[in-house]
């Protein structure tokens, strides 16, 4: 085999690798599906026969690592499959995604963990890192086989969109998972307070006559679990944190040295509750969109490092699940294809430096999940995302990649377009203006 033919050179690109603080113009060499070196723009010596890709001055960064994705497979393939999710991910520059265990059956069996990893490999487009169920069937009653799932390759443990409500069970889970140094991920919403609700308690929910969920439901769950993390010395992560109060609790816990981390998702820093407008079910999410003060607090927590990662929180819904009155429509929004561009709005607005924003989408979630993805280091898999940070476009729900169309950003004008995505050196997405 001729090794030179398997080589690719990316030229005329701005290389950004937040894992190493790298941000400069340069060239990147890929050989055999892995990164073989970085050099200066004018350097000579590309392998003979190498493919040359002219980036046109765009940014080349590690493929994004999305730490929270729901796919419909197995059990809900009508919403999304591994393949349709992989296509949407590739269009969004995502090359690694952690998938939630609340499928049917739930990922509470080691065989399913292996199956999901293999399904990702089969697509050739994305690495799937499966979460293991924290409790059997994600029902909150009995602990799942955390050790066996961990051994099979589950990257962390969660009950997905359901909070583990039982305080004793949460204590047991955190304690037991500590034996494997496994990360426990909690949906921070006190379920009894949230029961029956569909919008954040407040003026808007009152006007619309929608049953409300108090924003405090998040802080109450976070406060409880932080105390349990302290008690058990477990590793705890809160997903899609959306309130000022919740973030303040996490900030204080980090300052005390607790092993606690958190992520948020683009709707919570780019939209506020007014996006539900006249009962727009695409903007019905879990947790619900918050008031403007909370949105600003999320932006501030991104900037000051309290938030460790940005995840798409991709939750595909079938049209019939959303074409319902607001309170009974399924919660969730798609997010794979818009993850980068919505995050870049924070960069364009001056709230985040580019390298920080990309760090929240690459090496920082990878580090939380103890994945080797998310960097341009020599020898790392050539998972790459090429994007033009200035290219403007408008989100149109019915033109999104993937099966589901339920984006809360429908109609949003964005700057920043993924031009191409490579998985292990192989092109898996190329943008066309058509």
């Amino acid at each position: 085999m001729n090794a030179a033919i398997d080589a690719t050179i990316f030229e005329n690109v701005r290389l950004i690798d937040p894992a190493r603080g790298l941000d400069r113009p340069g060239r990147l060499l890929v050989r055999g599906g892995v990164i073989a070196g970085i050099d200066l723009p004018a350097a000579e010596g590309a392998p003979e026969g190498a493919r040359v890709i002219d980036g046109g001055g765009a940014i080349l960064c590690p493929g994004l690592v999305d730490m929270r994705v729901a796919i419909g497979e197995p059990g809900f393939e009508y919403r999304e499959t591994v393949l349709s999710a992989a296509r949407a991910a590739a269009a969004g520059g995502i090359t690694t995604m952690a998938v939630l265990p609340n499928s049917q059956p739930a990922t509470d069996d080691p065989a399913l963990v292996r199956h999901l990893r293999a399904r990702g490999e089969e697509t050739g487009m994305v690495s799937i890192l499966p979460y293991g169920a924290l409790t059997r069937q994600c029902e909150g009653a009995e602990m799942a086989e955390i050790g066996l799932l961990h051994e099979a390759g589950a990257i962390a443990f969660t009950d997905g969109p359901r909070a583990l409500a039982d305080t004793r069970m949460m204590r047991l889970a955190l304690t037991y998972a500590r034996g494997f140094d496994a990360l426990v991920v909690q949906h921070p919403e006190e379920p009894a307070l949230a029961r029956g609700g569909c919008a954040t308690d407040g003026e808007l929910a009152t006007r619309l006559g929608l049953p409300g969920i108090p924003a405090a439901a998040e802080a109450i769950m976070i406060a409880r679990d932080l105390r349990l993390a302290e008690l058990t010395r477990g590793r705890l992560h809160f997903c899609h944190v959306s309130t000022a109060e919740g973030l303040e609790l996490i900030r204080a816990a980090k300052a005390r040295g607790l092993r606690v981390t958190c992520d948020t998702a683009p709707p919570y820093f780019d939209l506020n509750e007014t996006a539900i407008g006249d009962f727009r079910t695409y903007a019905k999410l879990s947790p619900p969109l918050r008031g403007e003060a909370d949105r600003q607090a999320v932006c501030a927590a991104l900037a000051d490092g309290t938030i460790d990662a940005i995840a798409s929180d991709h939750a595909p819904c079938d049209a019939d699940d959303k074409r319902q009155p607001f309170a009974v429509a399924s919660p969730g929004g798609t997010g794979l294809a818009t993850l980068l561009a919505v995050t870049l709005a924070q960069v364009h607005g001056g709230a985040l430096p580019m390298i920080e924003a990309l760090g929240l989408l690459t090496h920082r979630p990878a580090a939380l999940l103890r994945s080797r993805a998310g960097t341009l280091s020599d020898g790392a898999a050539a998972d790459l995302c090429l994007f033009d940070p200035e290219r403007a476009w408008r989100v149109e729900a019915d033109r999104m990649p993937g099966k589901a169309q339920n984006t809360p950003f429908d109609g949003r004008a964005l700057e920043g377009r993924v031009l191409g995505t490579w998985k292990a050196g192989k092109p898996v997405f190329a943008h066309t203006d058509a």
């Binding site: 407040g202 003026e203 009152t206 006007r207 006559g209 929608l210 009962f279």
Partner: protein
């Protein structure tokens, strides 16, 4: 004396919105034509001389996903008194929950060439969802805990007939405000027309953010009713409460039921209202409900007149001036 008809001038019809989904944000200049026309229909109803040709050839479907004999009958009478072909469709909400979406229903109704669609649904926003997909004009006949615009209009008409105006009156809305679409629509409409609105009830039944709607909040009847011109009682919707918000009906009546003693702190001859059906002995004492101060039966009468006005005006929305 001006002999001109009291109905709004033709120019209004062309400008009028096609649907009536709620009264939130509605300007007095849009509210008053409904009230004025309803006033004239109220008089015609009493003299049994209604214009039977007004909606001739038009089809009105009363699409009720939730039981409501009173409201449905009121809309049915309103349509028939104007000569419309009125059809009642009662759809169990359960069949919708089983997967038949509202939009399937919309497609069916479009195929039937309906002119006016009166929708009652247990979910807030359901009529708005339908309105986006049907060709007919949609009237919200009550959606979840969101709005009940014709109830607010009929309440406003009833009050206006007694006081001549809504401006400057103090109206106390009492009881289960959290679960009440009647309360929301009345708050929007009465404040828009210049009334001062108070809400009164136990804290568990008053939304925490209700003050943002421009009302004063009181947690005792004695405070809330003081010097009120109108006392509007709400039905205690026990079937909607998940439990635990009020300990018992007996305790509720003890602290929040309207009896003569409590009514005495309001203005003399304050008007007592209730959207019905009443739970006698729970939110209202029978003697108050049946007293001279009660406008409850008049509300029912004005309901038909208001619904006639609504069907009439919406059926003409978009007509050339």
């Amino acid at each position: 004396m001006n002999d001109a008809p009291r109905a709004a001038p033709p120019r209004f019809f062309a400008q009028h919105a096609r649907h009536l989904l709620g009264v939130q944000g509605m300007h007095p200049s849009r509210i008053e034509p409904f009230l004025d026309l309803a006033e004239s229909y109220a008089l015609m109803n009493r003299s049994r001389k209604t214009p039977r040709d007004r909606l001739r050839g038009r089809t009105v479907i009363n699409l009720f996903f939730e039981d409501s004999t009173r409201t449905r009958t009121s809309f049915e009478l309103a349509g028939k008194r104007l000569g419309a072909d009125v059809v009642n469709m009662t759809v169990a909400s359960s069949s919708v929950n089983k997967g038949e979406t509202l939009l399937d229903t919309a497609a069916t109704l479009n195929a039937m060439r309906t002119d006016l669609l009166v929708v009652r649904h247990s979910q807030s926003g359901a009529p708005a969802l339908l309105a986006r997909k049907v060709e007919a004009s949609v009237v919200n006949a009550g959606d979840g805990t969101h709005e009940h615009p014709t109830q607010a209009l009929l309440d406003a008409l009833t009050i206006r007939r007694h006081f001549g105006t809504l401006h400057g009156l103090t109206v106390a809305i009492c009881g289960d405000v959290s679960h009440s679409r009647v309360a929301r629509s009345n708050i929007h409409l009465l404040t828009a027309m210049g009334a001062r609105v108070r809400v009164v009830g136990p804290p568990t039944l008053i939304p925490g953010a209700i003050g943002a709607l421009g009302v004063d909040v009181h947690y005792t009847m004695e405070d809330g009713l003081r010097d009120a011109d109108v006392v509007m009682m709400l039905r205690m919707q026990r079937e909607r409460m998940s439990g635990g918000q009020v300990p018992s009906a007996r305790e509720y009546f003890r602290f929040y039921g309207l009896d003569h003693k409590r009514l005495a702190v309001a203005r003399p001859q304050a008007l007592v209202m209730h959207p019905g059906p009443m739970n006698r002995g729970v939110e209202i004492d029978s003697r108050v409900a049946d007293s001279d101060q009660s406008a409850i039966r008049e509300q029912v009468e004005m309901g038909v007149a208001v619904r006639m006005a609504v069907l009439d005006l919406l059926s003409r929305a978009g007509d050339a001036p």
